[in-house]
Symmetry: C2
């Protein structure tokens, strides 16, 4: 697509300057206060505005549209689009920023009056954004047609709705088991619903969506007794070889099963708001009920608990700076603390990629691993900010999944315990290696390394058999071969790094060798990564600007992928002809005239700056590569260009899918002034800060403060850098320097400092000879 | 239908007289030796010839046709029809004699050579009955096209196939996950298959068939290593929002999921037969693997174990008599020992009517309860012949099902843990009451009684709300109202009987009163049970010969149902006008000229003798009612007429569906000379024996022998009866008299003894004033 450059930050900077002095803007207000869940709910962000606890199992959020067809509802991946005029209901499960979709499980809509059409979506209610309130862990809106005030909150394993009905009106709920995100005929394989003797409503749904056969059970407990209920199956004329149960012909059997169920519940006229507590489980109805019971308390109690949990989680980074930037970064941090999500039941049971139920012993199983995205900055951010136990949970969840995988490999893109085979690579590998190398323990490292090696040597997956034989993935055997080759090589390097740290010299040697495989697909003559055929020749014709499904690259082209050698940027620059040639090529990428290009056929291609595509992940580290080439001031310039054009503190404030926190984690790191270009290196490349002051409250109790003296629109360049008062000559931080606590101070200025961090020894991993 | 009277027994009696003297025919041969699983596999029997252990979870049997449509494959309810020329494969699960169907799970066919069409049923192989061998626990056949010798055996939770491939031919297996009995588009909701690292093949299938959503997992372990495999999904052009896993495009991924899967396994050229061990589980794949491992040993070992188990189980009744009769009765006993089937996994887990997994503690969960059929004679036979533990397992399984039922009621027609809502009544109630009253313990009687009361008072089921209000089920509110009224009243009586025995006087009184409700639907003016409307009027027009779905009666008409008052036959006879009128009406039923009637539109209406329909259950006790009217010799005549016309020792030897053993249990009891007309009364009405001698080896170690002195075609009448040497003047036995052990001796003769058991005091329950 011909993506218009975003000018949001500049616009807002102007706005904020017009309304209040800088000091007033930066004073007061916690990160929690500054976070705004509406950011990303329009435009390309695909985030949801609803209620979720940090890493919570339930994402209770309004769905404005669920009935779109495959490939036509890309924009509704999170159920809610800011520009939509109506809400269909509130469902329990949502992805935060995914490019593909599913979920939207168990849509509930409050209704008043008697008449109900059971046409899908007929219960739509208009709403006005003025009535909306979105806070971490809380969402509210007034449904204009019914006059119902709808409030949502969520604990780790429960969602609670509170509906205030107009006085004197019969309170009703509609539960539509047909509704889901990315819905299409045949998606629901089976569903059931029943009212239990104690008034708890339980049931399940099995769908074939993004996950091939996903079972999800629910338990719903309203605060008022049911006065009546009606279950309907709207699927007509189905060949069905069974008999009707009790209440045949009646609308109120105790149970109904089928593929198109709608339930209606009546509560009569209530003299107080109706609270509806919901839990889910992938295991069984008992699991959902136990999850429901695992978090006691009413709406207000759970809202308060979750509010405190968000204050704690977001308090990991204290922010000072211009209000719009603070809001953007606080929200980015919020978005980075949603997934991977808790997914085991309160009793530890979880359903795995084998569709079987397992017990998590000594850890909490998490799922929703968007690994191709999140290995880059999202997981490194969580390693830095979240307790060791949470990160160990991630690793244990990945390894436990591998151990029960029908293929014996680590997750590729997993949610709700199910593998989706989305995107490429075996990027659970760098996630585990990065955590291990940064000192995260609490998991069986040998089992993890075994899982990593198995994943990297499983021949049937993604051309790995050919990769192991030829040293590259041949395009005539496997699509997207060029991207796969370089990503495999990087993943291999992280195995070597971890194996080396563990003293496994043989594994380290074998995968260290494989880490060089990127060279086998890099065409020094054209200066691009290119797909090769099994006979060794490069595939022709070659167009470095082409973006197509099943092409040589994955959601991108040669411009973006040629830069993906985090483990050996030095080697790649050498092939290009040296640092100057690398800078020239970087400039050529950013300054590319894309006015003649049309990428509207491809999803996820948004946020273009020339051939740099910030809306998708392969570009995310590229601006930092100027620093590798000895020109950190060019990185600083590009970062300003990207932040100003790609982020805004508004609903359409994300230029691309947030991808389960990766777009946001990029902003959090970048705003702090450093970024993990090569997870596994334990280094963070220094860019430039975008906040006056930021303090990391680290899990070990230490504080690490970043100060940007003189930061302003007029002072976009880094002059001097000190770490704990001493000048820092190099262009990167070491992980241990951050976790030790301390102060990183930038002196910002109007002109580039072309003398800082330019020597090879001062440059980041693979460029420096210092290690 | 205009059913031709069967003349099998008479024909075979003639045959046997022609071939060997009686003494030679009756000598030697255990009941095990005499049992012939081919009986019932043609005609109306719906039994299967394959391998099953007593009450075994696996019924491993050939399927001759699985692709028929609903309502067109009634005859293939057990997968195999004797008259079919080809076998499609061998599947693990089958009903024994059901009128409706499902199952046929996990069809495997051995193949040779390379070419395979994946068209459903394309793997059909011709076969010749001469190559078949069917024994309890063993079945073999030679597939003519491939030359493969196929042998089947089964343990309690495993099935083992042994395939001997022609020398030098590549051995292959096809596993068709699309195939099932009563198959139709959309029946398979989902399925999956994978090859595990150790070579075990596991997977699952979820179907919406007779049971609304039934999950079944499998584990398959071949004795030879796989040399290759191919998984195919034959469903084309399905809207599906997922991505392909490893091996995309390849036929040999490690796993495949979908709705139309076929797997092929290659083993190369083998130098010994291929054994294929299979287990199933409703819980998960681990459950199936554990079940597989729960019975060690190869084909021959398991065949020997199961053979011994059948010798023990069938040894409960030693038989002497003409070979054809011995074969029929031995086979009937065999068929009565197949269901209810073990269904919990080896570790005790089972999936219940709530589709959730539960643990059986202290009992083995059994399922496949065809209760409308089996409460009559099948369960009473098992109470008599099977160990207390087995019967207590049945009761515990029923009560455990009630406790997790979404409706809180006992099973109606349950298989694989799932409720099907087939037929009417709450006949788990008499099964439990009969067991309890006959001294079966080992279950929580109070919990059982609670379950019975809940089932009898659950308003939404089958018009029970109206029944409780009006004292009958009104036909303008609920179909088949007349049948329901009388069956509910009988079930209520058994609750009263059990409650009385437990000292629960209030429950006994309440249900004792309900036991009289049959009167509210009995029209003394016409002498028929008739359906009434809610306003009290009888529905008109009234045709006592009409049989229709949704009519006043269930698979029958007023002729059959008017006799169903086992708890108060005396009261019913009084309404008819006394004993003589009752005998006249019985004769009118048996002697009815049905040549003008056509019942071909109704399933399960077979085996007609006038308006007596032996092929379906409502008639089963009717011949014994002459004895209630003081004319036991007329019962003796009718029994001869029925046995000779309704049973043959040939594949088409059952005149109606065996109905999970009820048709067979009728013959076992009848051949012994007594029958449980009113389960709950602890009485057996004496008919006439059909064997020279039969000895019951009772679970308590006692022996009860029945001797028929002078039995022959010429001596069809009972002259004198002695029990333990003393004359027995009454026309019924008490349960305690049998379990005490002893000898019941009949002196058979050519003419009726019109002086025996005619006094009211000598007649069975409700006629005698002696109790």
């Amino acid at each position: 697509m011909t993506a218009p450059l975003r000018t949001g930050l500049a616009a807002l900077a102007a706005l904020s300057l017009a309304t209040a002095p800088l000091a007033a803007q930066t004073s007061g207000g916690s990160t929690y206060d500054a976070a705004d869940p509406m950011i990303g709910t329009g435009g390309e962000g695909h985030t949801f505005p609803g209620a979720v606890a940090p890493f919570g199992m339930i994402q209770l959020s309004p769905d404005t549209d669920t009935t779109c067809e495959i490939r036509k509802c890309y924009g509704h991946a999170a159920g809610y689009r800011y520009e939509d005029p109506t809400i269909q209901g509130f469902s329990m499960t949502h992805f935060s920023g995914a490019g593909h979709s599913d979920l939207g499980d168990f849509l509930i809509q409050p209704l008043v009056g008697d008449a109900t059409s059971l046409e899908p979506g007929a219960q739509r209610a208009r709403f006005d954004h003025a009535t909306e309130q979105a806070r971490p862990g809380y969402y509210a809106v007034t449904l204009a047609d019914s006059g119902v005030r709808a409030e949502m909150t969520a604990g780790t394993r429960v969602g609670v709705q509170r509906y205030t009905f107009p006085a004197g009106k019969d309170a009703r709920l509609l539960l539509d088991l047909r509704s889901s995100l990315y819905s299409y005929p045949g998606k629901t394989l089976w569903s059931s619903i029943r009212v239990r003797a104690d008034g708890t409503i339980t049931g399940m749904r099995e769908t074939r969506g993004w996950a091939p056969a996903r079972k999800l059970y629910f338990a719903i407990r309203p605060s008022a007794p049911l006065t009546r209920h009606a279950f309907s199956n709207t699927e007509e004329k189905v060949a069905y070889n069974g008999f009707q149960g009790p209440g045949r012909g009646a609308a109120d059997p105790a149970q109904l099963q089928g593929r198109a169920l709608v339930a209606q519940f009546g509560f009569g006229v209530l003299d107080r708001p109706l609270e509806v507590k919901v839990a889910i489980s992938a295991v069984d109805e008992d699991g959902a009920i136990a999850n429901l019971d695992s978090e006691r308390g009413d709406f207000d109690a759970i809202r308060a608990d979750t509010g405190r949990a968000w204050e704690r989680a977001l308090g990991a980074v204290e922010l000072e700076g211009p209000a719009p930037m603070k809001r953007m970064v606080a929200t980015a941090l919020y978005h980075s603390l949603i997934a991977p999500s808790v997914f085991s039941d309160a009793d530890g049971r979880w359903r795995g990629p084998d569709d079987q139920v397992h017990a998590a012993t000594g850890f909490t199983f998490h799922s929703t691993f968007s690994l191709w995205d999140t290995f880059r900055a999202e997981h490194p951010l969580l390693v830095l900010l979240q307790p060791e136990r949470r990160n160990a949970d991630f690793v244990q969840s990945l390894v436990a999944s591998q151990q029960v995988s029908p293929f014996g490999i680590l997750p590729v893109w997993q949610f709700h315990g199910r593998e989706t085979w989305t995107m490429i690579g075996y990027h659970a590998v760098p996630v585990i290696a990065d955590a291990y190398l940064k000192g995260i323990r609490g998991f069986d490292a040998q089992a993890a390394l075994d899982a990593m090696v198995k994943s990297a040597t499983y021949g049937p997956y993604g051309g790995l058999d050919q990769y192991m034989k030829l040293g590259y993935v041949p395009i005539d055997r496997e699509p997207e071969a060029a991207s796969k080759t370089v990503e495999y090589a990087y993943d291999d390097w992280t195995i070597a790094r971890m194996a080396g740290a563990m003293g496994k010299a043989d594994v380290a040697a074998a995968f260290g060798k494989r880490a060089g495989n990127w060279r086998n697909s890099f065409d020094a003559k054209t200066g691009f990564l290119r797909a090769r055929k099994a006979d060794g020749s490069y595939r022709t014709p070659f167009d470095p600007t082409a973006i197509n499904y099943g092409s040589d690259y994955t959601e991108g082209n040669a411009w973006q992928y040629s830069w993906f050698v985090p483990q050996d940027q030095a080697g790649m620059f050498a092939l290009l002809g040296g640092d100057a040639a690398a800078v020239n090529k970087l400039d050529a990428m950013f300054d590319f005239d894309n006015s003649k290009l049309d990428y509207s056929h491809a999803e996820d291609i948004a946020g273009l700056i020339g051939q740099y595509i910030h809306g998708n992940e392969p570009s995310h580290h590229v601006a930092y590569l100027y620093a590798y080439a000895g020109q950190p001031w060019r990185t600083q310039e590009r970062l300003k260009q990207i932040v100003e054009s790609q982020y805004k503190p508004t609903p359409d404030g994300l230029s691309g899918n947030d991808d389960l926190g990766q777009m946001s984690a990029w902003l959090v790191f970048t705003a702090l002034g450093f970024y993990p270009v090569a997870p596994g290196s334990n280094e963070y490349v220094i860019g430039r800060p975008f906040l006056d002051r930021a303090t990391l409250n680290l899990p070990n109790g230490k504080r690490f403060t970043v100060i940007a003296d003189g930061l302003s629109e007029a002072n976009p360049y880094v002059g001097k850098v000190t770490l704990n008062g001493r000048p820092l000559a190099r262009g990167y931080l070491r992980h241990e320097e951050i976790v030790a606590g301390g102060e990183l101070r930038f002196a910002m200025r109007a002109t580039p400092n072309k003398g800082w961090a330019t020597a090879r020894a001062a440059r980041p991993y693979s460029m420096s000879t210092a290690r």
